[in-house]
């Protein structure tokens, strides 16, 4: 029996989540370990204090290895933060053979051309995500041996800053582990909380974390857009603490216990106590004020996503049929109602797939589960490109940032 142990690491703003999976005979994925530590040195999805972030990540990996009772072979590492950017590139080739049957060589030529877009300096590609092939205007999953004249393809290319990515890779290397691949958080969690049907008909999956919000748009089963807004639950807490002039801890309690994303009628009588135990410094606070502050922040967040040029095109063309929310901050009361108002579509709370055990079924595990899933299943396009994905591109990145592969 062939077994490979892989780890999924998400260095989040509020916590580090590590899951360990056992891939048996390339066919089955068993989740055998879990470790969670509260995060230090990470703000808005980016590492700002290397040593602190490193310590808490190592603690979580250690805890996960303890529960699994095995050592991990390689890590799939999530990436978030505003350093991530993406662009779309496409290409079209004329089918060469005289009988107009698409050959593998045509596809290779096309893919190479579509991906050969120049990147700015200090940037490295994380993913080239291929959309479907277009053969004479029709969307096809696999054009090989089909008949046609013009073959086109598009790539959604996600790239990030070398410095930021190498920081997180160094953290994993510092524990003596190898990073197998970097995966953008939105892809990982988005894949977990949407169904194949939703991805076909068009779905926007929004993962609202503590420090950042990662979103992904699927259409016809393919990823067509991803994005990051460096705003999350921490911003709500900070807004409340500034508005009510209190500390982060009490502001967070206000958010969790009394907050909701929709407005309350301005009633003079609806009060909540700041601390709740009537000690010195406790005072009454208007619940409608709490909701005003939260509503403004979350409304703005959704509107930033909705007004993104590429995203709004999908909305205008009615190519999206639903929105799914996940991440810790998606547990905010009435957040679906606000999202429905902004997006004008049915909004659901994302659920992890049913094969996930109940103790890791919460929205905070979506990203890590998605990482394992990618580590287990991502073998796309290997048929068309000579080298296996996950080695060539990633090797390039590692060489550029001076790591041993």
């Amino acid at each position: 029996m062939n077994s490979k142990i892989i780890g999924a690491v998400e260095i989040g703003t509020s916590k580090v989540v590590v899951l360990i999976g056992d891939i048996v005979n390339d066919k089955t994925l068993n989740i055998i370990g879990m470790g969670v530590s509260s995060s230090q040195g990470v703000k808005k999805g980016e590492i700002i204090d290397f040593n602190s972030a490193s310590d808490c990540t190592h603690a979580a990996i250690m805890a996960a290895e303890d529960t699994a009772g095995v050592k991990v072979d390689g890590i799939y590492l999530a990436q978030s933060g505003r350093h991530l950017e993406a662009n779309f590139s496409d290409a079209e080739v004329t089918v060469k053979s005289p009988d107009n049957i698409v050959q593998r060589a045509d596809i290779r030529r096309l893919l190479t051309e579509a991906k050969s877009k120049q990147l700015p300096e200090e940037r490295a590609i994380i993913h080239h995500i291929r959309t479907g092939f277009i053969l004479d205007g029709d969307l096809v999953d696999d054009p090989e041996n089909l008949e046609g004249h013009k073959l086109g393809v598009g790539y959604w290319n996600i790239h990030g800053s070398f410095k930021k990515m190498s920081d997180s890779i160094h953290i994993i290397n510092g524990f003596g582990l190898r990073v197998e691949d970097l995966i953008v958080s939105s892809l990982a969690s988005g894949k977990m909380v949407t169904t194949e049907e939703e991805r076909q008909s068009g779905v926007l999956a929004i993962d609202i974390g503590s420090g950042s919000t990662d979103y992904v748009l699927f259409k016809n089963g393919y990823v067509v857009h991803t994005g990051v807004v460096a705003v999350g639950g921490d911003h709500i807490t900070n807004d409340l603490s500034i508005g009510f002039r209190t500390n982060a801890k009490l502001a967070d309690m206000l958010k969790v216990n009394s907050g909701k994303a929709t407005l309350e009628p301005k009633s003079k009588n609806d009060k909540v106590m700041l601390i709740g135990d009537l000690t010195i410094g406790d005072r009454s606070i208007s619940r409608s004020g709490v909701c005003q502050i939260i509503n403004a922040r979350v409304d703005e967040l959704f509107k930033i996503i909705r007004s993104n040029k590429q995203v709004s095109a999908y909305f205008t063309n009615r190519e999206i049929s639903s929105v799914v929310l996940t991440g810790g901050t998606s547990q905010l009361k009435d957040i679906e109602k606000l999202a429905e108002k902004v997006f004008g579509l049915p909004v659901a709370q994302g659920e992890n797939p049913s094969w996930v055990a109940s103790d890791i079924a919460g929205p905070e595990f979506s990203t890590a589960l998605g990482l394992l899933y990618f580590g287990f299943s991502y073998r796309d396009d290997t048929r068309f490109t000579e080298q296996k994905r996950g080695t060539n591109l990633f090797k390039g990145l590692k060489q550029l940032i001076g790591l041993k592969s």
Binding site: K43, K44, I48, R82, V229, A230, V231, D234, H235, T237, N238, D239, S241, I242, G243, F244, R245, T246, N247, A248, A251, K266, K271, R283, S284, I285, S286, S288, G289, Q292, I293, A296, R297, D299, E300, I304
Partner: protein, 417 residues
């Protein structure tokens, strides 16, 4: 000491209102203050029509040859040119006053362009310069906002203290009938409170007196961030009411966990029934809530016409770059700030603190009653309300910083209590 003697020794103060909003504010102060002993008023404008409507006695049209009395049309460069062309006039206006208050809106070309020049000239002539400046709403647009921000930085480089009054925050005051248009008169109200408080510290006698040299030391960190808060209370529980009012002061829209002020000036104006123990109660609360890490100077003044009432005014200054330690990405965008701090020739924060402590101790023996708070409570300048995200880079989106609360940027008035 008889009254005559007090006034002869009194500090000469002048309020200079710059531009339309500044002129209005001076007019408002003229009407609001029952007494104006030791306080002169002057209005400065590039717009002859607005200036002629002002009832204030001393009026100066600046840059007659530049703007022909027609205003700057919102162009601060034109305002600056106008001021440069009339340096002599400005010198005559400020000369001989120990304390110059500059009152202006930095959203206008005259206020933004002329105020820094007046501050600079007044400083050269030995005045202590305290500026109260109104900042435009964020939603008035990026251009206006950036213009005001640039003028604020410039003014900070030359004035002793600059107290920004952002409309975004003034709107937060809890009064349902207020409209956005009222924010300007709100700004006037806050300016009056600030001026009046400093005026009474210097001119009235009370339980704890603060003299001009002490005031001067508090404001001696040039280019510093300032904090300004005000609370008032009436009725049977006037102390508690005033403290509650101070806590929700819209200008203190800052979280506890941001930086503390280096120097803090707290002035209490009470009625004849204000006792020393009540002052003590206020002191304890204020130092605990807004504790200055190193130094707090207290003044307590009795207003003989009043009972059952108290006003608390808190003014703090924090050296920029000093306690922050980290060089923040934002500073790259505002290179003017750093040289100001770096070029300060002799006074270090430490020696300054020593001086203040010494000065205060000489002035009155009661200072040892006042606890100096060492903990990490505090606040920051009102123009920077990033709180938790203070030490991270700006979160740019369409020209605005997403780390600043949305409700402040959108101008939503929040119900607080």
């Amino acid at each position: 000491m008889d009254t005559q003697e007090i006034f002869e020794n009194a500090v000469r103060m002048k309020i200079v209102g710059v531009g339309g909003a500044g002129n209005n504010a001076v007019d408002r102060i003229r009407m609001d203050m029952e007494q104006l002993d030791g306080l002169s008023l002057a209005c400065v404008n590039t717009d002859l029509k607005t200036l002629s409507e002002s009832p204030v006695g001393e009026k100066h049209l600046i840059g007659r040859n530049i703007t022909r009395g027609l205003g700057t049309g919102g162009d601060p460069e034109l305002g600056q040119k106008a001021a440069e062309s009339d340096r002599e006039l400005i010198t005559r206006m400020v000369d001989g006053f120990e304390l110059i208050f500059i009152v202006a809106s930095l959203g206008g070309g005259t206020g933004a362009g002329i105020s820094p020049v007046i501050a600079e000239i007044a400083k050269q002539h030995g005045s202590l310069v305290i500026a109260f400046v109104n900042m435009p709403f964020t939603f008035e647009g990026e251009r206006r906002f950036k213009m005001a921000d640039a003028a604020l930085k410039e003014l900070r480089g030359v004035a002793d203290a600059v107290i920004p009054l952002p409309n975004d925050m003034l709107l937060q005051e809890e009064a349902a009938q207020d409209s956005v248009l009222n924010a300007f008169s709100k700004a006037d109200e806050w300016i009056t409170r600030g001026v009046k408080s400093i005026w009474s510290i210097l001119l009235k006698s009370g339980l704890i007196n603060v003299n001009f040299s002490t005031l001067r030391e508090v404001f001696n960190i040039q280019g510093a961030k300032t904090l300004f808060g005000f609370g008032q209370g009436h009725g049977p529980n006037f102390i508690q009411n005033a403290l509650d009012d101070l806590v929700i002061c819209p200008l203190l829209h800052v979280p506890d966990f941001s930086k503390v002020a280096d120097n803090l000036l707290v002035n209490v104006v009470g009625g004849t029934d204000l006792s020393m123990s009540q002052v003590q109660e206020i002191m304890n609360f204020v130092t605990e809530k807004f504790g200055s890490r190193e130094n707090t100077v207290f003044g307590a003044v009795i207003d003989e016409g009043k009972t059952n009432t108290v006003e608390i005014c808190v003014i703090g200054t924090t050296e920029m770059g000093g306690f922050r330690g980290v060089s923040k990405p934002r500073n790259l965008l505002s290179p003017q700030r750093t040289p100001v701090v770096a070029n300060r020739p002799t006074v270090t924060a430490k020696s300054l603190r020593d001086q203040i402590t010494a000065g205060v101790a000489r002035k009155n023996g009661q200072m040892d009653l006042i606890p100096t708070i060492q903990q990490e409570l505090g606040f920051e300048g009102v123009d920077e309300h990033r709180g938790f995200f203070e030490e991270t880079g700006r979160n740019e989106h369409d020209g605005f910083d997403l780390d600043v609360p949305t409700y402040l940027r959108r101008g939503i008035r929040v119900v607080l209590r």
